[in-house]
Amino acid sequence: MRLLTHNYLQSNVKGTEEGYPLGIVPETVEIEKSPVDRELLLSILPKLNYDAVHQAVAQLRLHCSTLPKLPSTLPENISNDENLVNDLYFVLFDVHVKNGCLVCPATQRKFPIKDGIPNMILHEDEI
């Protein structure tokens, strides 16, 4: 599961008020380096919830300290900051949480991640 995906995931269990953003408890994290696609990153940046990205990276750094540190807020003209662009692309596309779980902030319901695939299947009583 990439952090890009995590940025949009929320818990839609019945009756959950604020199921976003999901906390990440990583067990295995893999890095698969790929060439930076600058235009792709700049096009998705406006729609991203940056706070969620920042929080996710902070949670992953507890497990894998080689991840880059991101600023707490996005600077204005980010297209000039090459390092930040590269770091953001890396963090969103190249970091894969292979095993672990996602935790709903409101209900603490755990969504397991296995082999890089998060399991968002709801139980009968949660629909």
Binding site: Y8, L9, S11, N12, Y20, I44, K47, I117, M120, I121
Partner: protein, 314 residues
């Protein structure tokens, strides 16, 4: 040919063996690829801009691969974990073949070579999820949505709790929320009957989508393909905004009625007018002659002798 939907839930049908069979059959791959290309054509995406596309029932990632070739990135969800594992392998193999040019990867079909933008590691991601329970994403996440041969699975209930109409409505209303305004969804499905197609279309339009069904090759039973094309009606958006401004709740939105047009709609058949005793009255005979004329049969013109009581029995 029996339908797989009748055998049980999708997650049970697409087990590991079936998933491998599905992905390795070159005919299946070819057909699915063709359907995906057509669906992408109906989506009218701007291929110069990478779009975030949701792939419902992504299965073994065939459709996701086509999306990537056009330069978009995607998130696929499927209820069968075995299919998703095959998809992962496919994405992994694609990434490995990325570096060598002389590969014999099945994805390098002759006809799609000119469409392939720079092949890079897969920008798709996968999720294990049941579409009938609603999509767990925040609002306006996706630029577009695509679904290949998956939607009909929602029409079959596999347990007492599963109600097809409820699942369909749940799915479509969550799709309405997670698609950004101005986005479009194209969902190819195989309806077993016309009623199923109507049910699916009804549930989609009731939640506020505009659009309808495109049928390719309508005259061939085997080749026929149904594409549900959904978009956001600009007028209804304005009406909705106006209603919200007036303080009405969203539950007071107008229900769009379903317009199902097509040759399959039953003609305006009225019950033949009969007297209580069942005797053939003049109205009935005249009506019957009109019906026959409409069918194109040779019918005598109506005169004063039409339906005259004959003096002797014929």
């Amino acid at each position: 040919m029996s339908r797989p939907e009748l055998t049980g839930p999708a997650a049970h049908f697409y087990n590991e063996k079936e998933a491998r069979k599905y992905d390795s059959s070159s005919r299946m791959v070819g057909v699915q690829r063709e359907i995906t290309e057509r669906a992408i054509e109906l989506l009218r995406l701007d291929h110069s801009q990478p779009a975030y596309v949701l792939d419902i029932g992504c299965g073994s990632g065939l459709s996701g691969q086509v999306l990537e070739e056009k330069g978009h990135f995607w998130l696929g969800c499927d209820v069968s974990r075995d299919m998703l594992l095959v998809a992962q392998e496919r994405m992994h193999n694609q990434a490995e073949n990325d570096d060598d040019d002389d590969d014999d990867d099945e994805s390098m079909d002759g006809d799609s070579n000119h469409n392939i933008k720079k092949q890079r590691k897969s920008t798709g991601d996968l999720m294990h999820h049941d579409m009938g329970t609603g999509l767990p994403f925040r609002p306006a996440t996706f630029d577009a949505c695509i679904s290949i041969s998956a939607l009909q699975w929602l029409c079959y209930s596999n347990s007492a709790q599963q109600n097809p109409r409820r699942r369909l409505t749940r799915f479509f209303s969550s799709l309405y929320t997670v698609l950004k305004r101005g986005g479009r969804a194209v969902l190819q499905f195989y309806p077993e009957t016309a009623e199923q197609a109507v049910l699916i279309t009804e549930c989609a339009t009731r939640v506020g989508f505009a659009g309808g069904v495109v049928v390719d090759y309508p005259n061939s039973a085997k080749a026929k393909k149904h594409y549900l094309v959904l978009s956001f009606d600009r007028n209804s958006e304005q009406k909705r905004k106006a209603a919200l401004k007036d303080g009405l709740s969203s539950a007071a939105e107008e229900q769009q009625s379903v317009l199902v047009t097509g040759a399959s709609r039953e003609g305006t058949k009225k019950a033949p007018i009969r007297k209580k005793k069942g005797v053939k009255t003049k109205e009935w005979i005249v009506h019957k002659k009109e019906t026959q004329r409409k069918k194109g049969k040779a019918v005598r013109p109506d005169t004063k002798y039409t339906a005259r009581r004959r003096p002797t029995k014929f």
